[in-house]
């Protein structure tokens, strides 16, 4: 049958559908940026690991003149008398899922891009870099070409140059000055060039050693019994955004995660974002641990040091003296920022914020202490602004 010869006409134009999907992604991003919901959307645990994160969003469908969901009703089949209840409206809030077809779309956004959005939306200034604090690091510089490579690295200019070179060398093509218009642009369609696969040139990188501004961020999380799941979740979300922002500011950045109840211990990223523990609270233990690590690993001359402490504000009464001692004597002179984030909980007294606000001695010209208080997910943006809004 000749029918099958025509299959080509019926084959898919793959380019156009991938283009559509890209356009949709852009559209979702626009929407996310517009309603600023990306700060609060999604689960923080799902955000770990990759360089990109997935944010689900609702809506984004084209409005239409249509009947309301509940106005038509429908036809069913089965037993029952008029007046019998056959089902309940599951969506309690009127907001969620207005139509059966509506569902969450997802989009991948890189962390750098999120940091940019955050910086723009919260009007965060760039961190003022301190001179001298840097380490040697490796950097990839795209400054050479090669003949094989992925298409995304195709250097069009170099490829074009190569095509001209080969065509002129082989004598097939002569640059004819007469055929050029006054502006110098080549008359369209006239010079015919041929192109072979070998003409392609791809960008390639070399590795260079460079000075990088370095930073270390200590994330201290109170995991005592009074910090419930919700509080920890808030703390983690806050911590994640702090990381995202500071990552965009420093090239060489390290993170140290410390969990503390009565004792403090250093954990890895996964554990920090997933742990559930309980016990009493001795905040000083965490700060002492931090100072230990700074002494052994991160020289204050080389590193910008950030400390973020998340707690519900409950501390063992006798511990306050120790705490202020280690903060005032050891840490305050060397850190860029010591931030205390208090998370409201049902059981926490919230005394610690007061103690710290009164007890921490900020040295002249340093301005490196800040504290905030968050109740719900909506306060995170304000809190971020308090801590990161001054370019420290």
């Amino acid at each position: 049958m000749t029918l099958y010869d025509k299959i080509d006409l019926f084959s898919l134009d793959n380019n156009s559908s991938s283009e559509e999907r890209n356009r949709l992604k852009e559209k979702i991003k626009e929407q996310l940026k517009k309603d600023k919901s990306y700060i609060t959307h999604g689960q923080i645990k799902a955000r770990l690991g990759g360089k990109t994160i997935v944010i689900p969003i609702r809506g984004l469908r084209q409005p239409k003149w249509r009947y309301g969901k509940h106005s038509i009703g429908g036809v069913g089949s089965g037993d029952g008398q008029p007046g019998d209840v056959i089902g309940q409206d599951k969506a309690d809030g009127q907001q969620a899922g207005d139509q059966p077809g509506e569902h969450a779309l997802e989009v991948e956004v890189s962390r750098e891009e999120l940091a940019r959005w955050l910086q723009k939306d919260l009007e965060l200034p760039n961190v003022q870099l301190k001179p001298g604090k840097n380490i040697m690091g490796e950097k990839e510089v795209y400054n050479s070409r090669r003949r094989r490579g992925p298409n995304c690295l195709l250097d069009k200019k170099a490829t074009m140059r190569q095509i001209y070179k080969r065509n002129i060398a082989s004598g097939k093509f002569k640059a004819q000055p007469g055929e050029q218009s006054e502006q110098g642009s080549v008359v369209r369609g006239k010079p015919r060039l041929d192109f072979i696969e070998d003409d392609k040139r791809f960008k390639d990188y070399t590795i260079r050693n460079e000075h990088e501004n370095a930073a270390v961020v200590f994330q201290l999380l109170d995991v005592s019994g009074s910090m419930g799941y919700d509080q920890r979740e808030l703390a983690r979300r806050h911590a994640w955004w702090v990381e995202t922002f500071l990552m965009s500011q420093y090239k060489g950045i390290d993170f140290v995660y410390i969990l503390h109840d009565v004792h403090a211990k250093v954990v890895d990223e996964y554990k920090f974002y997933n742990i559930a523990e309980s016990g009493g609270t001795m905040v000083s233990s965490a700060f002492k641990k931090t100072y230990e690590i700074v002494k052994t690993k991160y020289k204050p001359e080389d590193y910008n040091i950030y400390i973020f402490d998340y707690s519900d504000g409950d501390n063992w009464g006798d511990d306050n003296k120790d705490l202020l001692a280690v903060i005032n004597n050891d840490l305050m002179p060397i850190v860029n920022l010591l931030a205390y984030v208090q998370i409201e909980s049902q059981w926490g007294t919230g005394e610690l914020k007061k103690t710290l606000d009164e007890g921490v001695i900020v040295r002249k010209g340093m301005n490196n202490y800040s504290s905030s208080h968050i109740k719900s997910i909506d306060d995170i943006a304000d809190s971020l602004k308090i801590h990161l809004g001054k370019g420290r």
Binding site: G73, P82, H103, L105
Partner: protein, 526 residues
């Protein structure tokens, strides 16, 4: 994407032969095996491989992909109404499924070829869609992708608002109507010398020129449109003042595609029923081996799940019912008038007109008439049909009625006019300020108010002058069903108010910056 392998090809030939022996009449059909992903991509483009690109297709794709990933539904095949017919088949189907799908496709094609409602659709629709895509691509290059996309977004919002049945009406030319009026004036002026014989020649000339001027002015002031116009897209294309040519062309493209898809939306039940009927017949009587029958029945039950909202099930059973009734002679006046239930059940005149009747139904009916005529009280009783509604007060769904009339009405709501509210352009020069006035023909179902406003914003983008929409809103909670034992009259003898709902006509307006609402008074049933 590849043609069928040899084994399936011979199988397809065999099935075609069997189908033809039943007098099914279809064009040659090309089958293309496609992967799941390709099929989803096609489905998200309404089955058209060369449709223009728009982000809403990607939304559709994501949605389909999710239902597939969660194994809620599976698309087995897609048929394009084209000459020769084309069918995309999911290559992940099992061999038995593949045969059933092929039989299903042949029956669909028979329907496309023979049903009267598909008469006006173009045969080379794929080429047409490809041409549309090319045109839009060109506009994107010329006027910028964002600009074209924004305009397409706006047009998409009202793409359902076309005049479906105008396809089948004889086309009236507007030009001729105008000519006739002008001719009338000429004749009248020619008779002038008999009416007023005393006028001098110069006076007569003066009179004539005045009459012509008056006629022209009258023409200018005439209401646009003369009668309420259902085809909003056409009206916007012809009368929106600020549009460029490429924008008018885009409206035309969307409109043409809407007209192409229209017959498919209002023949869904009958078309799927027809295809399922023949698929079932061919499979059980010829193709499936005895050992495969259970497996096939399982697949068939999956597709035709019992649910009145499932077109496969409803259409299939209605066709079976029609065949049986006409075989037994259960039709006509005598049968209608018979009130003896037992006698009615045992009615059998051995008329054997079943096959003839269903072929007639296939050729002449659409969903609305199919349901109105062949959904009988007996059928509803047998399958225990009822209508349900949402009780906003208690937030539950309740059974309302088992009345045949209500059931039919409810089924038809989802089919007629693309399943959307019936909206017409009433005035294109509202308040003599070039504003657009549309009205919703209220038939008992209110519109979704939030989207009324959002859509108005989009219509404004096309019309570029203030736009209005009149509709009816309901206030108060509807009590759908009163408990059975509740009294009809209260203690003082007044009738208990059954419905708390107040119906009020309301005008929604958008002037480019602000939304405005205005009450137009209570709504009375016509």
């Amino acid at each position: 994407m590849r043609p069928l392998d040899d084994q399936l090809k011979t199988e397809a030939k065999r099935i075609a032969q069997i189908a033809r022996s039943y007098d099914l009449d279809f064009f040659d059909t090309g089958f293309v095996l496609v992967s799941q992903d390709e099929l989803l991509e096609l489905a998200s483009h309404h089955g058209m491989p060369a449709a223009y690109s728009h982000w809403s297709h990607a939304v559709q794709y994501e949605r389909l992909k999710k239902t597939h990933d969660w194994a809620v539904g599976k698309i087995m095949e897609l048929v394009i109404n084209h000459v020769p017919a084309y069918a995309y088949i999911n290559s992940t189907n099992s061999e038995l499924d593949q045969k059933a799908v092929i039989a299903h496709v042949y029956a669909h094609n028979d329907f496309f070829k023979n049903n009267v409602w598909f008469g006006p659709t173009t045969e080379s629709v794929v080429d047409q869609f490809a041409a549309h895509a090319k045109r839009i691509e060109r506009y994107e290059k010329k006027y910028g992708q964002k600009r074209v996309e924004k305009f397409l977004d706006a047009v998409h919002c009202i793409k359902e608002h076309i005049d479906i049945y105008s396809m089948y009406a004889r086309k009236k030319s507007h030009k001729c109507a105008k000519c006739a009026e002008e001719c009338g004036l000429e004749k009248k002026l020619q008779l002038e010398k008999f009416n007023n014989p005393l006028l001098t020649k110069s006076e007569r000339e003066k009179y004539k020129s005045r009459a012509k001027k008056r006629f022209k002015n009258k023409e200018k002031c005439k209401k646009i449109p003369k009668k309420p116009q259902k085809d909003i897209l056409l009206f916007l294309r012809d009368h929106a003042a600020q549009l460029n040519d490429w924008q008018r062309d885009i409206i035309d493209i969307v409109r043409e595609q809407s007209y192409y898809f229209a017959p498919q939306t209002f023949t869904k039940i009958i078309n799927e029923g027809w295809a399922t009927y023949w698929e079932f017949k061919i499979m059980t009587e010829h193709i499936a081996e005895p050992s495969q029958l259970v497996k096939y029945s399982k697949m068939h039950c999956g597709v035709a799940r019992k649910n009145p909202a499932n077109p496969y099930w409803l259409g299939f059973l209605l066709f079976l019912d029609i065949e049986q009734r006409w075989n037994k002679g259960q039709f006509g006046e005598q049968w209608q008038e018979c009130t003896n239930r037992v006698k009615k059940e045992r009615w059998d005149t051995k008329a054997m007109l079943g096959i003839e009747k269903i072929f007639q139904v296939r050729a002449e009916y659409d969903d609305i008439r199919f349901i109105k005529e062949f959904l009988t009280q007996e059928f509803c009783d047998e399958h225990k049909f009822f209508t349900w509604e949402y009780d906003a007060k208690n937030k539950v769904y309740v059974i309302v009625d088992r009345d045949l009339k209500e059931i039919k009405k409810n089924l038809v709501y989802r089919i007629k006019n693309y399943g959307t509210p019936y909206i017409q352009v009433i005035d294109g020069n509202y308040k003599n300020r070039g504003e657009l006035y549309c009205a919703h023909f209220y038939d008992g179902v209110p519109m979704k108010l939030k989207e009324v406003k959002d859509t108005l914003e989009h219509v404004y983008k096309i019309w570029q002058r203030p736009v209005h929409l009149e509709t009816v809103v309901e206030h108060g909670n509807k009590i759908t069903v009163q408990p059975k034992d509740s009294p009809l009259f209260d203690q003082s003898g007044n009738e208990v108010i059954r419905n708390e709902v107040k119906k009020i006509r309301r005008l929604f307006s958008f002037n480019g910056k602000k939304h405005h609402e205005q009450e137009l008074g209570p709504y009375y049933e016509r």
